[in-house]
């Protein structure tokens, strides 16, 4: 009886360990940052992409996800929806969905990051970073490019902002430098009028003869104003490669 109990308990233990291990691996597969359907990319590529995405996301305020699939029946609209679902996994995230079946990819940002990575920026991430790598079927390269693109457009210090900063620096620098310099240059002009007897000239001739007059007319154009705004916590952009 005691032996049996020991055996059963051993089996239960082993089973429990195996189950937890299994469950963990299933969880990991589902919740990985790089998700693959239809064996769209190789296992080694997936592992590599997973590693890259983890490095770029762990401990950061923006989480990155990529989904690869290879399904001709999935439409572009469905890809967009999938990207939205992927990015919904975190409160602040960017997701890319690549469908090799239709050669379509879409980048979706969700949360406060969408304020910086707007739809046009997401489109740029696709255009400038993702598309060329996807054309070459370089999955790891595509994920690297995706990470780079997100970093660039999510960064407060985008090259344009840095450029504006530099222009600000130059403007302040030059204005200050040259104001001080001209102040130290000598430029006092003496007052000659003080020597004029009576303070003014004696005018012998002062003639103002009217010659001609003409009037011109121009139509006043009324100005127009326009504007608009858009809201929402999602933004995205993509295209065919």
């Amino acid at each position: 009886m005691r032996k049996l109990f020991k055996k059963i308990s051993a089996v239960i233990c082993a089973g429990a360990i195996a189950c937890t291990a299994l469950a963990f691996s299933a969880f990991a597969a589902d919740n990985g940052r790089c998700v693959v359907y239809n064996d769209a990319i190789s296992d080694s590529d997936r592992a590599e992409c997973e590693k890259l995405l983890n490095e770029a996301s762990d401990g950061k305020d923006v989480q990155l996800y990529v989904l690869f699939l290879n399904d001709k029946t999935v439409t572009d609209t469905q890809v967009k929806e999938l990207a939205g679902t992927m990015s919904n996994r975190s409160t602040n995230s960017v997701a890319a969905v690549v469908n090799y079946g239709t050669n379509y990819a879409f980048v979706d940002a969700h949360g406060t990051v969408a304020e910086r990575i707007t739809s046009s920026k997401a489109q740029k991430i696709y255009d400038k970073y993702l598309s060329s790598e996807l054309k070459d079927k370089d999955n790891v390269g595509a994920v690297k490019a995706f990470i780079k693109g997100v970093k660039r457009y999510n960064s407060f210090l985008s090259p344009i902002v840095i450029l504006i900063g530099c222009i600000g620096f130059l403007a302040f620098f030059l204005i200050f430098y040259f104001t001080v310099r001209t102040k130290y240059k000598f430029h006092e002009k003496p007052n000659t009028n003080a020597y004029l007897e009576g303070g003014d000239l004696n005018f012998g001739v002062m003639e103002d003869i009217f010659v001609s007059e003409h009037t011109s007319r121009t139509a006043i154009s009324s100005g127009s104003s326009g504007g608009g705004g858009s809201g929402g916590s999602h933004s995205g952009g993509g295209g065919h490669f």
């Binding site: 985008s158 900063g165 302040f172 310099r181 000598f186 007052n191 009037t215 121009t218 139509a219």
Partner: protein, 357 residues
């Protein structure tokens, strides 16, 4: 070809007849005069000469002799500046380049000014004014502000020419008066054009120009105004304890400076009398008809300073205490402060860029 030796009424140069327009032209200051005008002026001068008796001449000769008998002329071997000092005062170093000066001769009578304004401020005042003036300037090298530098300030009588100019000007211009208003959907602009003529004359009295080639002209101009009511007949007593510079720029050579000031001011005054929205000058003619000169000396507290092989100056009007100078700029300090200011621009740019992009 001058038949009679007529002198230019502005600068004293010999006039020549311009065969093209039959006017008398001065080759030195380029003034032009009608022959009749010159003959009239010349006749007046002759009459005045005839009226003066010998006593005045004698008095002048006596004063010249006294001046030349007790005034030494020192010469800087390095820059050529010539400094005068009376027998009781020894000039030791050159005001402009700080090299030693050597006694070269007695001064001649024609170096004696007719009048001068005596010093009315002390060296202590000059030194403290200098420090106050320098202290306000941030980007001046430290050693420029030092006490040793301030010690080098010396009181110098600078030779000045005072010019009395009679000027007449004629300006012909086109003036526009523009009025605009809106009515309905249209904007109307009415332009009225006038033919504007002005002729005016005036007398400028005592425009000063320094007769020293070494003293920076702009610096001396900036010491203006001097209060001429303090002008005193020259006496050797005033020179004691001070240095004086000998004039080396003739009135012929300072006349262009005077002329440009008179021309500019006359034109500006004539323009001021034209009340239009826009003025286009069609023709102008500003002529200085006659200039009377007086050679005087003005009291100036003066200092030169060499910094990075360039000369800088400090000067104070010895009568009124007005301060001026050409200051060296501590470029390194300015550069770094500018960088700091630039960083503020950078941060503002980043914040601005971050918000609007």
């Amino acid at each position: 070809m001058p038949v009679l030796e007529y002198k230019c009424p502005n600068c004293g140069g010999g006039l020549e007849l311009n065969p093209v327009n039959q006017k008398m032209k001065c080759p030195f200051c380029l003034s032009e005069f009608e022959q009749a005008e010159i003959e009239k002026l010349f006749a007046e001068q002759e009459k005045n000469k005839f009226n003066t008796d010998g006593a005045e001449e004698e008095e002048k000769a006596r004063k010249d002799a006294e001046f030349s008998g007790s005034t030494n002329l020192y010469r800087c071997q390095s820059c050529g500046a010539e400094i005068m000092a009376d027998d009781t005062t020894a000039a030791t170093f050159c005001l402009y380049c700080h090299n030693p000066v050597v006694l070269s001769s007695r001064c001649s009578g024609d170096m004696r000014p007719s009048r001068l304004i005596p010093f009315m401020t002390t060296k202590e005042q000059a030194t403290s004014n200098y420090k106050a003036w320098c202290g306000k300037k941030w980007f001046v090298p430290k050693d420029f502000k030092s006490i040793e530098t301030a010690e080098k300030i010396s009181g110098v009588y600078i030779p000045f020419w005072l010019a009395d100019c009679s000027v007449s000007g004629r300006v012909h211009a086109e003036g526009k008066k523009i009025r605009s208003w809106t009515s309905g959907n249209y904007r109307y602009t009415e332009t009225r054009i006038y033919d504007v003529s002005r002729a005016a004359d005036g007398v400028f009295r005592g425009i000063p120009a320094d007769g020293s080639s070494k003293a920076e002209d702009g610096l001396m101009d900036a010491l203006e105004p001097f209060d001429y009511s303090q002008l005193k007949e020259f006496s050797m007593n005033y020179l004691s304890g001070f240095l004086a510079e000998r004039y080396d720029v003739d009135r012929k050579d300072v006349f262009p400076r005077i002329k440009s000031r008179v021309d500019e001011n006359t034109e500006a005054l004539i323009r001021n009398s034209m009340h239009y929205d826009s003025i286009r000058i069609l023709d102008k003619n500003i002529v200085i008809e006659k200039t009377d000169w007086e050679y005087v000396m003005m009291p100036v507290w003066f200092m030169t300073y060499k910094y990075n092989d360039k000369d800088y100056y400090f000067a104070m009007n010895g009568e009124t205490g007005k301060v001026t100078g050409i200051l060296p700029l501590a470029k390194g300090k300015l550069f770094w402060v500018s960088c700091l200011i630039g960083m503020i621009g950078f941060i503002l740019g980043i914040i601005g860029g971050g918000i609007f992009l």
